[in-house]
């Protein structure tokens, strides 16, 4: 694929996804203007239908929702570069949340070291949760996809159980933690949003992702494994080890997403009735972002906007599930990008000179 195609194809997918969402809204008798105005308002805090001063709290909340999605995007992207499809982000986020809850409430520590221990606990739990499908793929040749999906369900029930065992658990949540990522400073500059220091975690993760994948020999052998597993094995790379490590690093990033949600956004442990969809958002983000760090960052902001705007849409009688439909369409179109580019070339080819098209088809007369 040529370089400009890598940028055009995801943009085309996003446009088509939003277009389908808009058409669907029109057909079901809802006004798409409300959807767009809500999206804009949720991102920059400016209501185009009711002009007034910009409210930065919306921007802060938008970042709060985008941060874990960027992390799960990095998680899926990391595995994907190694040729693995980590669909287990959902479960890894949940066990990461539960582990950081347990670490925050049970470890006899205080201050910044405690906070770091909590984050590491979340990352470790996610890594362990992703280790299981990785090792089963390598040792037993069981597809990572199936195991990871099952672990999503196990993770939901297991993390609920862990949270219930906490000493201060009552009414589906624990007491506030002694430590948290909450930041009065970040809250004050965004008009009292829940924006927290997790943003540092996300930025560090983005840099680590980029350096690890693009700049180290370990990253090179991971990418080689992703391109052609047998080729990499023939070249002497430890393919099986790479698969397990890639899954664990991928899981650690998803676990971190869970940790910053618990430690930053809420500051207390929660019992959940169902997963919150961060893992599946991560799939969309990684694919749209082309699995590189800048792309994932930008795509994370896009899907963060779609996620944060949902309650406001519902309040305006726009079913919030339209956001899910748009996300699904975007994933679908990105997955079909080779086919779509073929169609684009056919359409473009009609307007070009005949001999150019012939060359593209391999020089046949």
């Amino acid at each position: 694929m040529k370089k400009y195609e890598k940028i055009i194809a995801p943009l085309l997918a996003i446009l088509l996804g939003i277009l389908i969402g808009t058409i669907l809204l029109v057909f079901s008798g809802k006004s798409p203007i409300y959807m767009f105005s809500t999206l804009i308002k949720s991102v920059i805090g400016y209501d185009i239908l009711k002009p007034g001063p910009i409210n930065l709290r919306y921007f802060g909340e938008f970042l709060v929702f985008s941060m874990p999605i960027i992390l799960t995007g990095l998680s899926v992207g990391f595995a994907y570069r190694t040729g693995l499809f980590n669909i287990g982000g959902e479960g890894q986020v949940l066990v990461g949340s539960a582990a950081s809850t347990a670490a925050a409430l049970l470890l006899p520590m205080s201050g910044v070291p405690h906070l770091i221990a909590c984050l590491l606990a979340g990352a470790l739990a996610g890594a362990i949760w992703a280790f299981i499908p990785g090792i089963l793929q390598v040792k037993k040749n069981i597809n990572v996809v199936v195991t990871a999906i099952m672990l999503n369900y196990v993770g939901l029930h297991f993390s609920n159980w862990v949270v219930q065992q906490m000493p201060t658990f009552a009414k589906a949540k624990t007491d506030y933690f002694p430590v948290s990522l909450k930041s009065p400073f970040l809250a004050s500059i965004t008009n009292n949003s829940r924006l927290h220091w997790g943003i540092i975690v996300v930025l560090v993760a983005l840099v680590i992702y980029h350096v690890l994948i693009e700049k180290t020999s370990f990253g090179y052998s991971l990418r080689a494994t992703g391109f052609n597993r047998e080729g990499a094995r023939y070249a002497g790379m430890k393919v099986d080890r790479n698969v397990v490590y890639a899954m664990m690093i991928s899981g650690a990033m998803a676990g971190l997403a869970g940790a910053i949600i618990t430690l930053g956004t809420f500051g207390y442990g929660r019992q959940l009735g169902a997963s919150e969809g961060y893992g599946f958002d991560g799939i969309a983000v990684a694919l749209v972002g082309g699995c590189n760090s800048i792309g994932i960052f930008l795509a994370g902001l896009l899907f963060g906007a779609l996620k944060v705007a949902q309650p406001a849409m519902q309040a305006l009688q726009i079913p919030k599930d339209i956001a899910t439909i748009i996300s699904a369409c975007i994933i679908l179109f990105v997955s079909m990008q080779y086919g779509i580019m073929d169609v684009v070339y056919k359409v473009v080819g009609r307007f070009k000179k005949k001999d150019e098209v012939v060359t593209k088809d391999g020089g046949e007369a």
Partner: protein, 319 residues
């Protein structure tokens, strides 16, 4: 002994949607297309079925089975329609099967909940009054043990599942069509060289799998629920795929695997009555069927790893 018979009857009810959806997956994977979108197709089928049953019920005599029959048919058709997207993406537009399947699952969740809000103005369908009821087969139910297990107080949908299973076995393993279908899943380039239309075969297989998965969704919501909600399918489509692997892509193995998973689900409901299991927390039993799926895959993972070309993007020019 009675509690065991009750459990078995419930296990068969739980097993039926897994069996039917798994047979759909069998068609698709045997033709070379991995279909993790079964979950989404079941979801759409369940929504369409539950919705139509609710709408039709007032127009029929109370207790009439007709609304359920219409509902199941509509559910199956909706599953088929959704599968067209997956088929087109995977076969024509060279999409990765797993990614396309994930997208279709997400789309199914979005569309069914969106439609609930547009049509019924809430996050779920309203409750229907009459679900599928149990039947007993005369004469056969008097056979000792077997009669109690399979012919007394059993949901008729289980027999539907068995009929579909036998049909699938016959079509896939005993007809020329089935041989061609299976060859497309093993070595599509070789099939194409023998004059088999690989693309057509795969379309037929994926559409069949959508039809069956939609039917399974309808069966599931009509026997295990009173309405369609976001959690109506809760992973049964994925368990069907696991059952397919566990049953070695064979209809009879699939039946055994489905009953096994049905039992795992039932255990959680009966745990209160079995004293030595009651010490475990309820979360343990909620997670049990999914954990058992993984354990079963570990224990029974054997040499045969399914159709060779399943999941590969078909490239007619590849050697």
């Amino acid at each position: 002994m009675n509690i065991l018979y009750d459990m078995f009857s419930l296990a068969l009810m739980m097993a039926t949607p897994i069996l039917i959806a798994g047979l759909g997956g069998l068609f698709s994977e045997r033709s070379g297309v991995v279909n993790i979108a079964l979950e989404g197709m079941m979801q759409v089928g369940a929504f369409a079925c539950a919705g139509l049953v609710f709408v039709l019920e007032p127009h029929f005599a109370p207790g009439s089975p007709m609304p359920i029959a219409f509902g199941l048919v509509l559910g199956a058709i909706c599953g088929l329609v959704l599968s067209i997207i997956h088929a087109y993406a995977c076969i024509h537009l060279k999409a990765d099967h797993t990614i396309s399947g994930t997208a279709v699952n997400l789309l199914a969740t979005g569309v069914s909940l969106y439609a609930c809000q547009i049509i019924f103005d809430q996050q779920r369908t309203p409750a229907f009054t009459k679900a599928i009821s149990k039947v007993s087969v005369p004469i056969l139910k008097d056979i000792p043990v077997i009669g109690d297990l399979f012919f007394d107080n059993v949901y008729p949908t289980f027999y539907l599942g068995i009929i579909i299973m036998i049909l699938t076995w016959f079509i896939v393993f005993k007809t020329p069509f089935g041989l061609r279908l299976r060859s497309c899943g093993e070595f599509p380039q070789a099939s194409a060289s023998m004059g088999i239309n690989v693309i057509k075969m795969r379309y037929i297989a994926v559409l069949t799998s959508g039809f069956l998965a939609g039917l399974a969704g309808g069966v599931m919501v009509m026997s295990q629920n009173t309405q369609f909600t976001a959690a109506a399918i809760h992973g049964y489509g994925f368990i069907a795929i696991a059952a397919l692997i566990f049953g070695k892509w064979n209809p009879f193995g699939l039946l055994g695997a489905s009953i096994f998973f049905g039992f795992a689900q039932t255990l959680g409901l009966y745990v209160k009555d079995i004293s030595f299991l009651a010490v475990f927390p309820p979360e343990f039993f909620n997670a049990l069927p999914y954990a058992l799926t993984i354990i079963a895959l570990i224990v029974f993972s054997g040499k045969y790893n399914g159709p060779k070309a399943a999941g590969e993007i078909y490239d007619a020019g590849k050697r």
